[in-house]
């Protein structure tokens, strides 16, 4: 593979990684919202659910599209890798998919089943499905991350996927990764919600952020501890000169967001929590480089022909020019907290 081809595939991998970060920051928080809906507790149970409903309603579909973006970049630029991952992770991907479908459908069904305002706050069948699916899907996606970093997906000489024992994605390392993904989503959601609520309700979400933050810290420590034994290559990569600064900075941001939550600096806590998740995911990507999945799928080995990769990469700035201002408008209209109208 010549130098320019490598350059294009690296850019494509970066785009996929960027998509994963965006999906985690936006879509991940929506999953976390579902978790807090399921675990809405106390005297302000209904208010909690309404706040989640208000926060997600206008944006969750756009947030969800980041997942599609990642899929498209991977199957276009790394088609052989996509096919192999689809075979190896056939069951967990399908189960995650069920979770994703039920989460989206139940969210909209719940808000349509009763036209009275505030009906979404009542406990209902679709409400429970919404919460349960939002909880299960991130666990399964995190588990898939675990299997990939563990280096368990092998390819034969013909490129065929070597059979993966079903217990692989139920291993303690993979499942701990899944739980880490879940608690990170819950943490992000709680921190974001402190920015979109007031008074006692805000305190509710602040408490949830402290709980999820503590859990996330513990699980992250546990994943690192397990990685040392169960995913030694990945562990070594994480501590390499290339990756360690990103991971270190991510952990600093995590600590800073925790401090900001404790001291009620809500805007700062949102900034630091988002930076934490983004940096740790970037660290994951940099640690994996140059592999889509270690050890069998090096990016250049599973890449599409350069003409295809180049075409896709070149459409990114054009797509970005359309999408970034649109996303900005969406967030500005619904997340700025003001009821003001955009200028005509």
């Amino acid at each position: 593979m010549d130098v320019s081809a490598k350059w294009w595939t690296d850019l494509a991998a970066l785009a996929a990684l960027g998509g994963i970060v965006a999906y985690a920051l936006f879509g991940g928080a929506d999953f976390g919202g579902g978790v807090w809906d399921l675990f809405a507790l106390g005297s302000r149970k209904k208010e909690q659910r309404l706040a989640i409903q208000r926060a997600m309603g206008p944006v969750w579909e756009a947030n969800h599209v980041w997942l599609i973006f990642v899929l498209v970049v991977v199957f276009t630029c790394f088609p052989r890798g996509y096919a192999a991952l689809g075979e190896a992770l056939f069951l967990p991907f399908h189960l995650a998919l069920l979770g994703i479908v039920l989460r989206g459908a139940s969210f909209i069904f719940r808000s349509y089943q009763n036209t009275a305002p505030g009906a979404a706050a009542e406990t209902s069948g679709w409400g429970i499905v919404f919460g349960a699916a939002s909880t299960i899907a991130p666990v399964l996606m995190g588990t898939a991350f675990g299997v990939v970093t563990q280096g368990r997906i092998g390819l034969g000489p013909e490129g065929e996927v070597l059979a993966l024992h079903p217990a692989t994605w139920l291993s303690r390392y993979a499942v701990t990764n899944g739980l880490l993904a879940l608690s990170s989503c819950a943490y992000l959601a709680a921190v974001y919600l402190t920015n979109e609520t007031q008074g006692a309700l805000r305190e509710d979400f602040r408490q949830r952020a402290m709980f999820a933050g503590t859990t996330t810290a513990a699980l992250a420590g546990l994943v690192l501890l397990l990685a040392r034994r169960d995913a030694p290559w990945f562990f070594g990569q994480l501590l390499s000169e290339r990756t360690a600064p990103l991971v270190g900075l991510g952990l600093v941001c995590f600590a800073a967001s925790g401090w900001a939550v404790l001291t009620r600096h809500f805007r700062l806590s949102r900034l630091f929590a988002a930076a934490e998740v983004a940096l740790l995911l970037l660290g994951w990507g940099v640690a994996q480089y140059p592999y889509l999945a270690y050890p069998a799928m090096r990016l250049d080995k599973v890449a599409a022909p350069v003409a295809t990769v180049r075409f896709l990469v070149l459409t990114l700035p054009v797509g970005g020019l359309l999408l970034v201002p649109s996303l900005w408008a969406l967030l500005r209209v619904f997340k700025s907290g003001s009821q003001s109208r955009l200028p005509a």
């Binding site: 579909e61 599609i68 498209v72 199957f75 088609p79 052989r80 096919a83 192999a84 969406l330 619904f334």
Partner: protein
């Protein structure tokens, strides 16, 4: 049931389900933009009430379409990894273009559905326009990928390696343009007649106020234009299929033997064992004429290829007949509607026979849409990518396809039932604003 059969059925169920919502995502925003535009021009409240009601429906159905579309983007790779490996390498980036359009649609749906009180009326209307355009474009891009499965161009296989010579070859291929044109019209037609039919039923039950009349007229304008243009696009597409996929063409028409003066068959049932299509009304030379403009021209039959390369002739022929019949029915209904309107004006809304026919036609556009898709996809078999890869070569070796097919079918059934219940509930909710 084999794993292959289960995977094919799962694709059938997933696509048939998604297609309804995708078509609504293309057609309904156009109707909404027209209604809201009429409100902005005239200030009459019933236009606004209509736009708001339809936007509620769009909000629900778009969400279901978004999640069922996500299932498809996963399943293409999960169920057909070898297919996705080749497709991704050659035309995956066309899904990328579709992705941008879909992304825009999702963003502006949020702005539109939740933004009635937050955006100025004109900005709000423009958000609707973006939804209508991006919805239509995302369909047109997906058809680029589908057209490529029918005429896989732009690459060579050199010693097992894919070499892409032209990443946009399919966009230069006429088949894409014909398919895009035909399918987009089909989506508008299906949605328009379904909406008009629903309100025709309301008019039959309770008489037609300004709200109901508008709810019939707007979709009838859109639906009639498309239904009358549709035979032209269908004719152009069929001629192109004749040139590029003669086996599919022969199956569509139930033409077993290669023949000059081939007849056009209306109805009939192809008997694959006897290699003859029975019970059809035959117009001598009609098929040769439609395919080539020459009634004496030779039409290659299924006998040109070994039986192992035949699609299911019965299904392909039947689906083709259903599609054509539904198209003709809607074109006739359009002419009937507008002739009546020209003579009787609003008196049309007292013509119970016409309104009854429209109410009966509510699902006809969707039946035609699904049937047309069956023609395209079943007619392509046994190939998943025409002439390059057979469907059975593409299926995943992974275990568990059958139970997952059952599980996903159950979920689709649940979603479909819930959507019906919620739409009925929505329909019975009081209409906002003043009515007369």
């Amino acid at each position: 049931m084999t794993s292959l059969a289960a995977a094919r059925l799962q694709m059938t169920v997933s696509l048939a389900f998604h297609m309804v919502f995708a078509a609504i995502g293309i057609g309904l925003p156009l109707l909404i933009v027209i209604a809201e535009g009429l409100y902005l021009r005239s200030g009459q409240k019933h236009y606004l009430a209509l736009a708001k009601r339809w936007a509620k429906v769009m909000g629900l159905l778009f969400a279901v379409g978004a999640v069922s579309g996500t299932v498809l983007s996963f399943e293409l790779g999960l169920l057909w990894p070898r297919y996705m490996e080749l497709l991704g390498a050659v035309v995956g980036h066309i899904f990328g273009l579709e992705g941008y359009a879909f992304f825009l649609e999702a963003i502006f749906i949020g702005l539109y559905v939740y933004g009635w009180d937050r955006l100025s009326p004109i900005v709000h209307w423009w958000c609707g326009v973006v939804i209508a355009i991006s919805g239509m474009l995302s369909g047109v891009f997906v058809l680029g990928v589908n057209a490529w499965m029918q005429v896989p161009v732009g690459f060579q296989l050199e010693g097992g390696q894919v070499v892409v010579s032209d990443p946009i070859a399919i966009f230069k291929h006429p088949l894409w343009a014909y398919m895009a044109w035909h399918s987009t019209l089909a989506c508008y037609t299906a949605v328009a007649f379904a909406v008009a039919g629903w309100y025709a039923r309301q008019a039959l039950r309770g008489g037609a106020n300004a709200y109901t009349r508008t709810a019939i007229i707007i979709p009838m304008v859109v639906g009639s234009i498309c239904a009358i243009l549709q035979p032209l696009s269908g004719d152009a597409l069929a001629k192109y299929v004749f040139q590029t996929q003669p086996v599919k063409f022969a199956a569509m028409e139930g033409q077993f033997q290669t023949a000059r003066h081939a007849p056009l068959r209306i109805g009939g049932w192809p008997d694959e064992d006897a290699e003859v299509t029975r019970f059809a009304i035959e117009i001598p030379g009609g098929l040769s004429f439609l395919a080539t403009r020459d009634p004496a021209a030779e039409v290659p039959g299924l006998d040109r290829v070994p039986r192992s390369d035949w699609p299911n002739v019965g299904v392909t022929h039947l689906a083709f007949q259903v599609m054509v019949a539904s198209g003709v029915a809607l074109a006739v209904l359009s002419v009937w509607f507008w002739l009546t309107y020209a003579r009787a004006g609003n008196g049309l809304f007292d013509r119970r026979v016409l309104l009854g026919a429209m109410a009966l036609a509510t699902p006809v556009g969707f039946i035609g849409l699904e049937a047309g898709w069956f023609v395209t996809e079943v007619g392509r078999q046994p190939w998943i990518i025409q002439g390059v890869m057979r469907t059975h070569e593409a299926v995943t070796p992974a275990a568990g396809v059958r139970p997952l097919f059952v599980a996903f079918s159950a979920v689709y059934l649940l979603l479909a039932a819930t959507v019906v219940v919620l739409l009925r509930r929505l329909a019975s909710a009081p209409i906002e604003g003043a009515l007369h």
